[in-house]
């Protein structure tokens, strides 16, 4: 390889240990997956609460939730993540100081998860709300007529019936959060993007390292797409009509 004759060979660059950056990239990818998975779960929880709240109230709660979803979906993710990160850690430290514990170092990973989850929650709310609304009213009325309580109705009828409707949207949100997780590098949390940047900064092998990192991101997204396709086929078992598979 004439091109890289002067530099460390490729396999050394990507190897495990002191010589290479394979381990750094690997742990970066693990962190990316971790904050994505937990942020996604947090977002889903917020989204479920938000969707139910939006659908079951018309007053102040619905207005507040509308404000949350509109504002969080209209703002650029990069700015929102920076704002939430700084505001969140400041607020927590303020709280700790108030209680008298003194300034604590908020774990970067927890902050990243909370920030990503809060952004994701706004998008999840809208996806889940639309999916719940698409459940035929007759099914819910039938459950009501059978004397099911509100909670039982939601757990047994609404939730399983809306899941196939929500899945394409939820798949998109998962793909988005794996990509948006790279923005957490802007506030200094070492996930795959920042780990790559640091490795490239030291070794000056920007091209190879960025291509490798992108290959990892691509592997994550392609695996996810296949997984969600499988899940949708499974959830739509027994439904009539052609199965829409991406």
């Amino acid at each position: 390889m004439h091109l890289f004759a002067a530099a460390v060979p490729l396999w050394t660059l990507l190897s495990w240990g002191d010589q290479g950056y394979g381990d750094e990239l690997f742990w970066g990818a693990c962190h990316t997956l971790e904050i994505s998975i937990f942020g996604y779960a947090l977002g889903l929880g917020l989204g479920l609460l938000g969707a139910v709240g939006k659908l079951s109230s018309a007053g102040l709660l619905a207005k507040g939730l509308n404000g949350y979803t509109t504002l969080f979906r209209a703002l650029p993710e990069a700015i929102l993540i920076m704002l939430l990160y700084y505001a969140g850690t400041d607020a927590l430290n303020g709280l700790f100081a108030l209680v008298g514990i003194g300034a604590l170092q908020v774990s970067g990973m927890v902050a990243a998860i909370v920030v990503l989850g809060a952004v994701q929650g706004a998008y999840s709310t809208e996806v889940l709300r639309a999916a719940i609304m698409a459940v035929p009213k007759g099914q819910i009325e039938a459950a009501e007529a059978l004397g099911m309580t509100r909670f039982l109705r939601f757990r047994r009828i609404t939730l399983p019936a809306m899941l196939p409707n929500a899945l394409p949207g939820l798949a998109n949100l998962w793909l988005n959060i794996t990509k948006d997780s790279a923005l957490v590098s802007l506030v200094g949390f070492t996930e795959l993007a920042l780990a790559t940047q640091q490795a490239a900064g030291v070794s000056k092998r920007y091209f190879v390292l960025y291509v490798t990192a992108q290959a990892i991101y691509l592997a994550i997204s392609q695996t996810s797409i296949a997984g969600f396709g499988w899940a949708e086929r499974r959830l739509r078992r027994g439904q009539r009509g052609p199965v829409a598979v991406p």
Binding site: F4, A74, P76, M82, K179, S181, A193, A200, Y206
Partner: protein, 231 residues
């Protein structure tokens, strides 16, 4: 909240806003133009063209824009010293302002997302319309220009608002490679004044206003197009 820095930086912020708008408009227009051949390659192209265009879209949609930008800005530049003669002949490329890399990266990204949408729109145009045009003796190029593209474009028009807003929401990433766009100037304010929230909030407000303007403008554009509204 302390805003006394604002008057000093207002001219720079205005210039930054112009750069942000420039990046947005150029990347949307050029990206859309690039999306058309990418979509056509997937719909009508041969095996190789279909696979290549599909792989390109998967790559763009499957990796973070931030990484794509870094690859172009840092990655390509880092290859030059390895190519003999590049230092002399390609120096202009290295000296090129970061904004060109930003525009290129955002254009390529928008093209990837939009091609996927245009692909669906091209496929959804009824085959009979295209056959009729062919039967009238139109050349493939003329069919595309007069029938296929206009019809597909009208179909994507409602989704275009969302796509353009999505692209607008990506523009702050320009500040990560040194570009003095709106976010870049705000970042400089943060470094100069040690204020964190005020510059970020200011930029957030401007972005909200821009989103509102885009929604209104595209709403007007959509109303210009006559279409059946009842279901």
């Amino acid at each position: 909240m302390r805003w006394e820095w604002l008057p000093d930086y207002l001219p720079a912020l205005a210039e930054g806003l112009l750069i942000t708008l420039e990046v947005l408009v150029v990347s949307v227009v050029a990206g859309f133009a690039l999306a058309i051949p990418l979509a056509l390659a997937q719909v009508k192209g041969g095996y190789l063209a279909r696979k290549l265009a599909g792989a390109y879209c998967s790559y763009i949609r499957g990796t973070p824009l931030l990484m794509q930008l870094y690859l172009l800005y840092y990655g390509i530049g880092s290859l030059f010293p390895l190519i003999p003669g590049a230092r002399e002949n390609l120096m202009w490329l290295i000296r090129l302002d970061a904004i060109y890399y930003v525009i290129l990266a955002f254009t390529l990204s928008f093209a990837g997302y939009e091609a996927e949408i245009m692909r669906g729109a091209f496929l959804s145009v009824p085959g009979g319309e295209l056959e009729a045009a062919e039967a009238m003796g139109m050349s493939p190029g003329l069919v595309l220009r007069r029938i296929w593209f206009p019809s597909a474009f009208l179909k994507v028009l409602p989704t275009l608002t969302g796509e353009v807003i999505g692209q607008l929401k990506s523009t702050p990433l320009a500040f990560t490679v040194p570009v003095q766009d709106l976010m870049g100037v705000a970042h400089k304010v943060m470094q100069d004044t040690y204020r964190i929230y005020e510059p970020l909030l200011f930029v957030a407000l401007v972005y909200l206003a821009l989103t509102y303007v885009i929604v209104q403008a595209f709403g007007r554009l959509e109303r210009l197009v006559p279409q059946r509204r009842s279901v």
